[in-house]
């Protein structure tokens, strides 16, 4: 919708904004991964000409966190620093150069502590823990369904996998511009959730929420990396208040790596039992997450480790054990897929191994065990529309999977996997009864239509969806509709852009608002049939401007157990993917020749946007599969905090992507639509791993699939050892006794 303004360079992102008298802010960051702060002397910095304000931890002492259960951060470190790059102080000055010089004048004294830099170290727990309560942040232990498998297992298999941590790397560096107007804070920020950010700013500054206004300008990519509230949002606001002038803080690319909140490294272990004919009887899924220094969305990620496996497969007896540990590294959080790509990788690669041992085709094994539409999963998730079977069959057919699997010459291979994702979390971050999205439409005195929506477009096309939904109902061209978005003063409440909720929720709210407007307008025309624009003119002639509202709240209540808030969604998208690869066994480099992708979108509202999301998700997945890793040196330093070092695919590495859209017409989605922003990432990584096995006979049970690891696995194969690269077993973690949630109790109504 705003593609034109972006293409001609007129769209404004946070760093493009400037205000009269604006100051530049910069943040001083910890050089230690773990240390006590002994002293922080800012006097020299304060007296540097051009410096207008300086703030340290004491200046912003109220703790916060994106989740109510993880309010463990302060804007600037107090007493202790917990990762290299953690914000410690901030200054505002007339120029960015002066601010930089001021940082160098701040005298910080630290007492270093031994750092915890890996899962093994966190679990062992030597030395001072990252947080007072210990390194174990969260442990989940749930058993769903039947206490015992329904039949005697005839075959059991257990596999271990490791998924490396990686980060979002949106092309736009985070930026925030703050000013105070008559005691009210106004913050422009490159954020995915203006309303959450407002809530946290209000909390930290001790203000009522309506004294804070947050506006998201155009956002240059987020992928989950701009969901958390950050030091730069809070410090810009504080510095602006102290200096009495607007303050802008724009991060350098290196600083974006320290914000992180990306993919948790995950060590996983999956054990399944089966009948020899390929029916799944029981699954135990274990996962251990390396969470970094703070909570962020980590508790939710921990639950998601076991959350979505049952939306694709029937699992009569299902045990999940997952844990998250703190380490002295930048905090991990939500990245596209939010805690589901790691388990999906493990599950789909494990299924491939099972299929081989049972003598069944990978597609056949999956078809035998698909979770059906209109059913409740063993972990109490309500699945409504599902085009999963059709996705599997179409992807297999279009890729020629059955003709190629195990039949291509050595070095070439094809692999298969499927996936599923939510269309927005049914339960909001802050549990309440309010709608998750509201949309207002104003029909002004001249018949002009303006839509007000709190949803934030980060490039995924949500503005387009909202406008299209209104245009479709009213029967007017989308170009005639103005959109005002993502401004907590002017637009109604919306939870924000995450968990793929916007199309479903804001889209539905927009649809409802449009339907209400239609009804209001035609009531004033005496019900006579005529085009909307004509009817609108008559209606406003009589009464002046008209307004209508729409809202959406998922019609679900979570089930009654701890952790049930994570997973439920009004609908789920489904997808299946075949990856064809060409491997060079001498260099270990893999070229992905083609990705064949079938996605159950429910209904494609705007086809180019849907395709663009799938192609983009495939691109990001391939980055995670081959190139991306967020790793750390023993000193705690990020090994490569830059775009040259942290690599993702350029235009030259991207394969051909063949797309098939399945429209299962979800009954609850706006016009039947479901999500596409995150789901398509999920099956690509395991499909590639499975393809590499088909090509070379080696199992890449750990990401990324680097040339070095491919050669290592080939070497093991040629020595007669197990031809794989990956972890063994699972660490010894003190999981609590599992809470048993049976499939249903007699007389209990299934949640709907």
């Amino acid at each position: 919708m705003d593609a034109f303004s972006k293409a001609v360079g007129r769209a404004l992102y946070a760093d493009d904004l400037r205000l009269p008298g604006m100051l530049y802010g910069k943040i001083l960051r910890s050089p230690h991964p773990h240390a006590r702060i002994l002293s922080l002397d800012t006097r020299q910095a304060e007296s540097l000409p051009g410096v207008r304000a300086v703030v340290t931890g004491r200046g912003l002492p109220v703790p916060y966190g994106i989740l109510p259960v993880s309010q463990d951060e302060t804007a600037l470190a107090m007493e202790k620093v917990r990762y290299v790059g953690e914000p410690v102080a901030a200054v505002a000055a007339d120029t960015e150069e002066t601010a930089g010089r001021a940082l160098q004048l701040i005298r910080a004294e630290y007492d270093p502590l031994p750092p915890v830099l890996s899962l093994e170290e966190a679990i062992r727990g030597k030395g001072e823990p990252v947080h007072a309560k210990g390194n174990l942040h969260k442990a989940v232990s749930l058993k769903f369904g039947d206490a015992n498998p329904p039949e005697e297992p005839e075959y059991t298999r257990e596999d271990a996998f490791f998924y490396e941590g990686n980060t979002h790397l949106p092309l736009e560096e985070h930026s925030a511009l703050a000013l105070w107007k008559k005691g009210r804070l106004v913050l422009y920020s490159s954020t995915q959730t203006p309303f959450h950010l407002r809530k946290i700013l209000a909390k930290v500054f001790g203000l009522p929420e309506d004294a804070v206004r947050v506006i998201a300008p155009k956002v240059g990519g987020g992928f989950g990396g701009k969901l958390d509230p950050f030091a730069h949002d809070l410090c810009a606001s504080k510095l602006a208040r102290d200096a009495g002038r607007p303050v802008k803080i724009t991060l350098t690319r290196e600083e974006v790596f320290y914000c992180h909140r990306g993919r948790h490294p995950a060590w996983m272990n999956i054990r399944t039992s089966w009948k020899k004919t390929g029916e799944l009887l029981e699954m135990r899924f274990r996962s251990c997450l390396d969470g970094g220094a703070y909570g962020s969305f980590g508790v939710v990620c921990t639950y998601y480790q076991g959350g979505l496996q049952p939306t694709t497969y029937r699992i009569p007896s299902y045990t999940v054990e997952s844990a998250r540990y703190f380490t002295n590294k930048p905090p991990c959080g939500p990245k596209r897929g939010h805690g589901t790509p790691q388990p999906r990788f493990a599950l789909e690669a494990h299924l491939d191994k099972v299929a081989e041992e049972l003598g069944l085709g990978p597609v056949e094994l999956r078809l035998k065990n698909l979770a059906p539409p209109d059913s409740t999963t063993v972990n109490r998730l309500r699945v409504t529309s599902s085009g999963l079977r059709e996705c599997v069959e179409k992807a297999a057919e279009a890729s020629g999977f059955r003709d190629k699997f195990r039949k291509l010459p050595y070095g070439r291979g094809i692999g298969f996997a499927l996936g599923s994702y939510l269309c927005g979390a049914a339960v909001p971050i802050y549990w309440n009864e309010d709608p998750h999205s509201r949309v207002r439409i104003r029909l002004d005195a001249k018949g002009g239509i303006t839509v007000f929506s709190g949803a934030t477009d980060i490039g995924q096309g949500s503005d387009t969806v909202v406008v299209w939904a209104v245009a479709e109902i009213l029967g007017v061209p989308p170009e005639k509709i103005r959109l005002v978005a993502a401004d907590t003063d002017r637009t109604p409440f919306d939870l924000g852009t995450y968990s793929s909720r916007v199309t479903y929720m804001a889209g539905n709210a927009a649809r409802e608002a449009a339907e209400n407007l239609l009804e209001k307008v035609y009531r004033r025309t005496g019900g006579r049939r005529m085009p909307f624009e004509k009817a609108a003119r008559i209606a406003v002639e009589k009464e002046g401007a008209l307004e209508s509202w729409g809202s959406y709240k998922p019609p679900l209540k979570p089930a009654n157990f701890k952790g049930s808030g994570v997973g439920p969604s009004p609908a789920y998208s489904f997808c299946a993917c075949a990856a064809q690869v060409q491997c060079d066994p001498r260099t270990g480099r893999v070229r992905v020749e083609r990705i064949t992708f079938a996605h159950d979108i429910g209904r494609a509202i705007h086809r180019p946007s849907v395709e663009g999301q799938i192609e983009g998700a495939v691109h990001m997945a391939l980055g995670e599969a081959f190139l991306e890793e967020q790793t750390f040196h023993p000193s705690g330093l990020h090994r490569g905090p830059g775009i040259l070092d942290y690599k993702f695919l350029s235009s030259l590495e991207m394969p051909e992507v063949k797309l098939i859209l399945i429209e299962s017409k979800d009954p609850g989605g706006p016009f039947g639509a479901k999500e596409v922003g995150q789901g398509p990432l999920l099956p690509v990584i395991p499909a590639v791993a499975n393809a590499i096995y088909d090509a070379l006979g080696i199992r890449m049970d750990k990401t990324p699939f680097t040339p070095e690891n491919i050669l290592l696995a080939l070497e093991r194969k040629s020595c007669g050892r197990i031809p794989r690269v990956g972890p063994e077993g699972f660490p010894d973690i003190p999981f609590p006794e599992p809470t048993h949630i049976p499939a249903s109790l007699p007389g209990e109504t299934v949640p709907c």
Partner: protein, 160 residues
């Protein structure tokens, strides 16, 4: 350090401003001339977001020193006519998602098309991808970007 007079043409207009030698063309464009269409993703020449045309060639404006632009002709995204086939094609094919890479991407593509008006050769697609290989995109997966460049060149769209 002493200021000097920078005299150059930007988007066809002569601009003169006093600046310092350690300013980059990126900073001059965004901060002195208010042309914020040119973006920055790394400031180290590792992403391409700051691409502009200097004397008809694509360069990273974050690596061009102000004095190096003296007497030069700079084209930024603001100087590309809105009716240009590339702009129309990028919008129509869905090649714009978050839009942050788009200005640099369009200018890199323009430099390619200016040198390569449609010629039928099998390597054209590969050459177009190479022409934008210096512009990273995190959103689109490049598929629609290639499509837009093809459409702008007057080639038949590949979409079914």
């Amino acid at each position: 350090m002493t200021k000097f007079l920078l005299d150059l043409k930007v988007n066809g207009r002569r601009r003169r401003l006093r600046t310092r030698p350690h300013k980059t063309l990126l900073e001059i464009l965004r901060e002195d001339l208010g042309l914020t269409g040119t973006k920055h993703g790394c400031e180290l020449g590792e992403c391409g977001a700051c691409t502009v045309l200097l004397n008809g060639k694509s360069v990273y404006s974050c690596l061009v020193l102000a004095p190096q632009a003296r007497g030069g002709e700079v084209l930024t995204i603001e100087g590309v006519p809105p009716e240009h086939p590339l702009i129309r094609a990028f919008v129509a094919t869905g090649a714009v998602q978050c839009g942050y890479c788009t200005p640099g991407m369009i200018l890199a593509a323009k430099a390619f098309l200016d040198r390569n008006p449609t010629q039928e050769r099998t390597s054209w697609d590969r050459e177009a991808l190479e022409a934008v290989s210096g512009n990273l995109c995190r959103c689109t997966g490049y598929a629609k970007i290639l499509e837009a460049v093809r459409v702008a060149a007057g080639k038949k769209s590949r979409r079914r």
